[in-house]
Amino acid sequence: MKLTLHTAPEVPLEAEVIGPTSLNGLTEAEVSALTVHHGNRKEALGEFFTVTGKMNGRLELEGDLSFVKLLGKGMSGGQMIIDGNVSGHLGVGMSGGRIVVNGNAQDWVGEDMKGGSIIIKGNAGHMVGCVVRGAEVGMQGGEIIVHGNCKNEAGGGLRRGLIAIGGNSGDFTGLNMLAGSIFVLGEMGIRTGAGMKRGSIVSMKPAQMLPTFSYSCTYQPIFLRFYLNYLRELGLVIDDAWLTGSYQRWCGDSIELNKGEILLYHS
């Protein structure tokens, strides 16, 4: 099935009904009649999107969706391919399936994510796969791959799963992380791993470490090869030198358990 934006929303459009799981089994007419929230008004999905084709587990979206929030909420399977930019809360609470965005996404990609994968070909906003405000436990499984850059707080409170950023990340990458893995192939902002208890953050560029992190050694971690080869398969550009290179290992945050690690490519 394909949804093509024919009328741009004037104010934010909350369209959590749009996702391969929630549209499964519905006809074009039924999908067009679904309710979306245009600011404080309820309107029919068909007021904004042209719906074509049958739902067979694969949903395509086309258009500038930079005012459209909550796409793919709670999806548990299937595929959603988006040609265009999207607004916030993409794939919130998803437990399975795959979202590909050929464009940029705004804040809160993969909030409360439990499984499945999200691939952003462009850039992502703040709080990629980050724990919601006030809670301790963030993303609990799945993968988020951002080919471009992301902003602050990527992987905050991460419990399980993989977040990979092809470009740069902002401040507080892996903040209060509990476990899991974060890869940033470009540069990270400041205060990486602040408050982290366990887990691994890997970057290919030098980074400023907080004073509560301490240098432990430089070594060649074998497990990184598997990860990096996997990221290469997903389409991220991986330098061969990274596969066999040495990495500085920093551990912290010493205010917490001091069992987290940050690996920085050295040579």
């Binding site: 919601v132 405000r133 006030g134 809670a135 301790e136």
Partner: protein
């Protein structure tokens, strides 16, 4: 404008008037229960339903500065439980500490029409009153914290008992409170002044004062009785949550020397064992004492499994819980008056202590000989949300359900209690006592908790069902002050409810002394402290009881 209503064909449970399930009419005129109404009055056919007075919660934390801090710092709790508005009602957010509107509507949905906020420092009286005004449908009031008041401590250590009594009366009146509340008396001075220490015994010296908790407790129990407050001193004993604390609880009850006193969330104060080690149940000892002493009343403070928030004026308690698991924590000191601690918590079935607490609460219910004096509470949200009441009622009424639940919990803990041997099942009438008639009588609210002529027409009508949790979860009809506002489970009107307070008389000359204390030690002006009569609307003064 007169409004009439007749409820027919329902099974009426009105323990205060010895009506136990008889089918009879209930008539309403202008917000009150009356003998009869004209033949053509509108009727509600309650066939197959149970008619009871509206529920009365004697102890919960639903409004005021600490409740609001607990709301403010838990967005993660509200976000998954929004409370949409309707044509008639405001929206809000739920979770363990709901917004004021959601609190009122959710209580009402369960058939509760009165609830008392249990602990507010006098300095934030205006705040709690404003929140209570924004808590719809239900009637409400609040208890003012007096057990750690520096000025009162000073009067007491000098033995100036008359001035002490006048000062207490001034404070209660100035803050429009409903009664005197004590929380871990004497502990705040240790907490704030002695680097986070705590009180551990009734005869321990309170830091910086020539005074002991026992003297504070005795004096405030006496003042409440001497002033004839409709509800006596409401006491959260020392040593809450500590193994072996039941002895402190017994000592506190003995301190009353036969005078009226209410011990709140007594479950949390019924632990045997040694300090610092695992607790065991001391429900039998506590229950025996309460059973034998008619001057004592209590609410249980049942623990229910799941999410809770420890939210208390007992700051050292929250600090202790922070060491159980390091998580976000609030402490809030109020000058010269109180402490406060807040910490999110979760009671888990597999944990020894949590199971033990759950079982002790049930033991206390099932061992109580006089349900009028051992009433229902979860110390919302400390033992669990008030939304757990229907489930708690089922645990009390349905032995099979209780036994089945007991198989899911920590068996080592259950083995140390007498719960498996307690076969009692609460009757519908006893439920009406512990959720309505009992708390209303303990509060001295003569027009609440019963359906006799002259009572407030606060009435709940439930579908009679085998599953008591489902039955008490959502009343089919709820009537408040004679107005129907829940009809077939849906809101059909809104209502603002009243704020109850007391206004004891006092000798005006005490004001000079308090004023001078304020000038030295408070950060607000004495003249700006008392709450004016126009500050909130819909207030009602409840008269003192004659002192004999």
């Amino acid at each position: 404008m007169s409004s009439t209503l007749r409820i027919v064909n329902g099974k009426v449970y009105d323990p205060a008037n010895d009506i136990d399930g008889q089918v009879r009419d209930v008539c309403i005129l202008d917000g009150k229960i009356v003998d009869s109404v004209p033949e053509d009055a509108p009727t509600i056919d309650a066939h197959g339903m149970v008619v009871m007075p509206g529920g009365v919660d004697i102890h919960c934390h639903i409004a005021g500065s600490k409740v609001n801090l607990a709301r403010k710092f838990q967005p993660e709790d509200h976000r998954y439980d929004p409370h949409p508005g309707t044509e008639y009602t405001r929206s809000g957010s739920g979770g363990v500490v709901p917004s004021t509107f959601a609190t009122g509507y959710r209580y009402a949905t369960m058939g509760y029409t009165t609830a008392m906020e249990a602990a507010v420092p006098p300095l934030s009286a205006r705040h709690v009153l404003e929140e209570l005004e924004d808590t719809p449908i239900i009637d409400k009031g609040y208890y003012v914290l007096m057990g750690n008041n520096s000025m009162l401590h000073q009067l007491l250590e000098k033995g100036r008992m008359e001035e002490f009594r006048e000062a207490v009366a001034w404070w209660v009146k100035a803050t429009k409170a409903y009664t005197i509340k004590l929380v871990n008396p004497g502990a705040d001075e240790m907490w704030k002044g002695k680097k986070n220490a705590n009180i551990t015994a009734l005869d321990q010296k309170i830091h910086a004062f020539d005074l002991t908790p026992r003297k504070v407790i005795k004096a405030l129990i006496d003042v409440a009785n001497d002033l004839g407050l409709p509800h006596p001193a409401h006491i959260h004993c020392n040593n809450l949550g500590h193994s072996g604390n039941y002895e402190t609880t017994l000592e506190t009850m003995r301190t009353a020397e036969g005078r009226r006193v209410h011990i709140t969330h007594i479950q949390f104060h019924s632990y045997g064992g040694e300090v610092g080690k695992n607790p065991v149940s001391a429900a039998r000892a506590i229950s025996d004492f309460v059973n034998d002493n008619p001057n004592i009343s209590a609410d249980v403070g049942q623990v229910m499994f799941g999410k809770s928030v420890s939210m208390t004026a007992d700051a050292p308690l929250a600090w202790m819980l922070r060491h159980v698991k390091e998580r976000k924590w609030i402490n809030a000191d109020t000058e010269c008056e109180s402490g406060c601690g807040i910490i999110p918590f979760e009671y888990q079935q597999h944990v020894y202590t949590h199971t033990l607490q759950w079982a002790i609460g049930l033991e206390l219910f099932l061992m109580a000989k006089d349900p009028w004096r051992m009433v229902l509470s979860t110390d919302h949200p400390n033992g669990g949300s008030f939304l757990n009441y229907p489930r708690l009622i089922r645990l009390l009424m349905d032995r099979d359900f209780r036994n089945q639940e007991a198989t899911r919990v920590n068996q080592k803990a259950i083995g140390k209690t007498s719960l498996p041997d307690l076969t009692r099942e609460y009757s519908m009438q006893e439920i009406a006592i512990v959720t309505r008639a009992g708390p209303a009588r303990l509060l001295g609210l003569k027009n609440k908790g019963h359906l006799g002529v002259g009572a407030d027409a606060d009435i709940t009508i439930y579908d009679e069902m085998d599953n008591k949790e489902e039955m008490f979860n959502a009343a089919r009809f709820v009537i408040k002050d004679g107005h129907l506002f829940i009809k077939n489970h849906e809101f059909c009107a809104d209502h603002s409810g009243r704020i109850f307070h007391i206004a004891p008389e006092y000798d005006k000359s005490i004001e000079n002394e308090i004023r001078s204390f304020f000038d030295d030690y408070y950060s607000v002006q004495f003249d700006n402290y008392p709450v004016s009569d126009t500050h909130v609307h819909n207030t009602e003064v409840i008269a003192n009881i004659p002192v004999t």
